[in-house]
Amino acid sequence: MNRFARLSQLLSPLVAVAAAFLVGGLVVTAIGENPFRIYAILFRGAFGSIDAIGLVLFNAVPLIFAGLAVAFAFRAGLFNIGGEGQLYVGAFVCTLAGLALGGLPAVLLIPLLILASAAGGAVWAAVPGLLKARFGVHEVINTIMMNFIAVGLTSYFIINMLREPGQMTPQTSEIALAGHLPRLAGPLSRIGIPLPQANPLNFSLVLALAAVWLAWYILYRTNLGYEIRAVGMNSQAAEYAGINVRRTIVLAMLLSGAFAGLVATNEVMGFRHRFLDNFSSGLGFMGIAVALLGKNTPLGVLLAALLFGVLNTGALEVDIFTDVPRELILVLQAITIILVVVGNEVFARRAAAREGRAAGVPLPATEPSREA
């Protein structure tokens, strides 16, 4: 990749974000508010204090996992729309284990619950993976259907069988104390960062960063990762080269689901300590946007999740303290994604055009020929 192409990789999302803020500002102006004031409040909500920054990170953590899930599958050419269902099943299995294994010490229980979360998500994603590998059924329809099944089943079990005794709220009892992931407020204040004790940021952040590294490592430093990327680029060529495409598809879905399931480390082990029916409200779907914005690379997912964390955290501040509705932030997010996608395409074409000229090969058909 030449310099220009690499630069555009980085610049296009940044330009898109800047453009999205500009368009968002116009929308704010159109509804009669001062965009500078609104953005100031949005950024105060996201960066105005240590507490605010902690909330940004807390909001970014589940999006990192959900984004990794989508990006990872995408690398194998699979469109995993089932993150939502996979994270519910991960959280459900994690909660069940956390309720049942109360006698274990934290050093055992915490790793076990992390594994349970990943396993729950992996199993749920394996079903569409197997159906794709065995029967060639498209994974989009099946991952979506698996979402409905997961939401419906967890709801049913939580409300009818696992509800906390004496409670009307559709949620389970608290999982064993030994299974709670510690909050970061304590350790951080010991090293001089005064994060308030009430801030929900917890060790799941560390797991999320580790997951980013792990996803990168698997994709770019292992044989499996090579095979996944080969299948994603051209499955027929990969098969011809001797890669077992079916096996690769199933493994990619398993790992993708495991990343989605790890959302439970934040939502169950780190924050709520129980399964609340419908706790997610679309985190799995947001993961698609995060992966897209992050161009399906692990590092890109991290950055995109942070951006969404900023927007979501700032949105709450705007919603509470101004008359601008929260919907505006949705508008901003949507504009950002559209502009990134458009930007990608434009930059990619120009980069291809340059490379083509340098190598002396004809330009792509979509570009008007300049030599003519």
Binding site: R6, I41, L299, R326
Partner: protein
Amino acid sequence: MRKPIEHLFIVLAITAAVAVMLGGCSAEQPGSVDGALRVGMVFDVGGKGDKSFNDSAYRGLLHAADQFGVEHTEFEPGQDADRETGLRKLAQAQYDIIIGVGFLFSDAMRKVAVDYPDVKFACIDFDPRPGETLPDNLAGLKFREEEGSFLVGVIAGLFSKTGRIGFIGGMDIPLIHKFEAGYIAGAKYANPAVSVTVAYAGATPQQAFADPAKGKELALLQYGRGVDVIYHAAGSTGNGVIEAAREVNRQAIGVDSNQNYMAPGNVLTSMVKRVDNAVFKTVQSAVEGNFSGGLREFGLADDGVGYAVDEYNEDLLTEEMLSVVEDARQAIVEGTISVPTE
């Protein structure tokens, strides 16, 4: 991308620069200007404009603002964790009283109320744990929805000509079961032979309480099977039930707010849950300095729930019906009828 870490630093540097620039614009810190009492309200799924549960709470807030000149702000959390965060932000911004609309705020209220003992909190439909005592600054407001539902069930049982009535709930959860159980008991009290068709709208809050198209679809199905009265407990999903009643000229029964006006002649009555009164009284007690924490229940006896009769439905209800309903009300208040909740 050969050196992603390099790019990460550039992006972070730019983000930080932008943040500092914009942060430098220093938005005004929220704070009381003229010493008026400040009320924050946080809505349930569906939010402002649901013409039902949330709007009832909002009406109470507006009434209080009108009466006592209190300042107010309100918002609807986008995700579950925002409930607690939002309550904390309001408390930090020195709101005097913060009202959470809906049982989903129960856990968040418990935590935040302890951290901010000088702020007063109230939670509509609070879900207490057995034997729980609330802090002095937290009022848990509960309603006996089953009692009001019993009375509209009596009306449905008396009105129905086909002997088939319906119930459409939002989500299949214990709170909504109270509406269902009271309604069925009331209908059977009025007409032991009546049959009740029950349906629930959805498994996610959005489908359950904010999807009028789904409500209409379910209602049309029931009307098509000979049901002639449907009671809904489904937030704005129920707006679709009322729309269906108007379309096929049958009867719907509104919920939480008085919804009789929404399709005059096709809304038999509404089970009103006076969330507005509870909100108003709570703000009033804070204004007058006699706010007290703890659990409070509102039922038929103190007009916390009831049924609505106005110019839009008085032609539908006969004298005989109303006298049967009033007898039932008396019996419930006196305790000779005990209304089931499950």
